[in-house]
Amino acid sequence: MSSPFYVAPEQQMKDRADFARKGIGRGRSVVVLHYADGIVFVAENRSQALHKVGEIYDRIGFAAVGRYNEFDTLRQAGIRYADLRGYSYDRTDVTARGLANAYAQLLGGIFSSGGEKPYEVEIIVAELGAAAPDDQIYRLTYDGSIGDEEHFAVMGGSTEAIAEVVRAGYADALDLAAAVQLAVRALGSDGGPGTPVRELGAEALEVAVLDRTRALPRKFRRVAGPRLAAVLGADAAPVAAGAVPGPPSASTTSAAAPEVALSDPPGPSPTPGA
């Protein structure tokens, strides 16, 4: 039996962390922050087809940076986890905390096992609570460490410079336009304080929200096309974000359908000889 070179565990972990960090740092960043009606995800992404932001469940969204095939595998695993759990128990039993824990176990296991290369990804799992104070943003890194972020989270390359801009501009209950514009300004400031802010248009952005005011049980909605252009162009004036609030629906088989008012008045009731 041949004995391999001895590498100290500290060194091994450090090498793997450097490897993962390098892969993540190459990519464009993602900002996730609270706004008046929920949580907004803003990613710099020039592809309209390969998403960095996705829907996991009724009130849970997912965002990632790094290697596409790896985080897309994680996204699909999350959907499978959530749908199977929600179907076996109840829709209200699917929580971001449980999902984030499962992700942490998986990422940590892969990071410390010698057999596989570590995932070059960072992910955010965000959940809309019943009210604004219950909203959660979890950030997970390549080694499975997990952080419960307050107000906002930034991941990808140059996170320090971006987070600095978000921190300076963040306030509670920003409206959607203000929150998106702040995130876009932050993403454009990745060169640091000395460099000019890059202009990011609608074609370079992927934006989605978990919108508490949405009437349907599924609160995730992409903001794209004309709607995104309107949000980017809006003054600080509040933007009407969605429909009237409806009660959250819990049961699997009673997906709430909004009620309709029949527009045309019903015709006269049929009577004999009429």
């Binding site: 499978r80 749908d83 199977l84 179907y87 349907l216 009673s254 997906a255 359908a257 019903p266 004999p272």
Partner: protein
């Protein structure tokens, strides 16, 4: 990290979740946790003196009709167990997703589970793929699920759904019916399933016109359900004392919407008032 047991697979992210594979939730559940599926019921080796059909309530009449802006689906509220009324306010019409509806007749417990599974199936596909299935694709998925239920159907637990929705590509409402073996048939204009369906279809033949406004189409399906309840003991008529009325949903380009109970109540009141004058309902001309 995966020991393959169902309990474990619900807690973490087993290897099966990380595999690239099918976008179908049914396939996933069958591989990872088959015991959660409605078709996992063990039917035994037979020889039992009890028919499975006697163990579960039965849901009855569902009616659907298209109109220029989509499709209307309505269901009565009664579930029966042989000669007993098992539930008087059961709901049998559900939104399958944002643009389609499913109504159920047959073994109620199994059918409601199957609707839940179908809803998850459509949502799961949409989330994994990032785009919804086409309406015909949805109808075919439902056919596959019914087919999987054939062994139970042969023992008396048949589930007969009616599927309808707004077809974005064709810009019209479409209706699909099924038999217990999973056969799928597209229906035109209107259709009905369940024990009172013969009477409901007969009524709609005389009342339906393809260019009816949405409110008239809703009234026509209410009349059809009333006629079904008139002649079929397993179909419930409008419960005037408890104000329990048929569930009516509409699928159109704006998605699925439910007609409010107040509105249905007002229409039922007019319908019943007219039936006091002519109990058999509106009269059609002979030629």
């Amino acid at each position: 990290m995966s020991d393959g047991s169902a309990a474990h697979s619900l807690g973490g992210l087993p290897a099966a979740f990380l595999r690239t594979g099918s976008s179908s939730f049914v396939d996933l559940a069958a591989a990872v946790a088959p015991d959660v599926l409605p078709t996992s019921r063990s039917t035994g080796s037979g020889g039992s003196s009890v028919s499975l059909a006697d163990l579960t309530p039965h849901a009855t009449t569902i009616v659907a009709a298209t109109f220029p802006g989509g499709v209307v689906m309505a269901g009565d509220r009664r579930a029966t167990m042989s000669n007993m009324i098992a539930q008087r306010d059961i709901e049998k019409v559900f939104p399958a997703d944002e643009f389609s509806l499913v109504g159920i007749a047959g073994a109620a417990g199994l059918a409601v589970e199957m609707v839940g599974l179908f809803q998850v199936e459509l949502e799961h596909y949409e989330k994994i793929e990032g785009a919804p299935l086409s309406l015909v694709g949805k109808a075919n998925r439902l056919a596959t699920m019914i087919r999987g239920n054939l062994p139970l159907a042969m023992q008396g637990l048949a589930v007969v759904p009616l599927f309808a929705g707004w077809d974005e590509a064709a810009a019209m409402g479409r209706i699909f019916s099924y038999d217990a073996t999973g056969g799928r048939y597209e229906e035109h204009s209107f259709f009905s399933v369940g024990s009172g369906s013969i009477f409901a279809r007969g009524a709609l033949k005389k009342l339906y016109a393809p260019d009816l406004a949405v409110s008239d189409t809703v009234m026509a399906v209410l009349q059809a359900l009333y006629d079904a309840a008139d002649d079929d003991s397993a179909t419930g008529g409008p419960d005037m004392a408890r104000r329990i009325f048929p569930v009516i949903m509409i699928a159109g380009p704006d998605g699925v919407q439910r007609v409010g109970d107040d509105q249905i109540g007002a229409m039922v009141d007019r319908l019943v008032a007219a039936r006091r004058i002519r109990p058999d309902g509106p009269e059609a001309s002979v030629v």
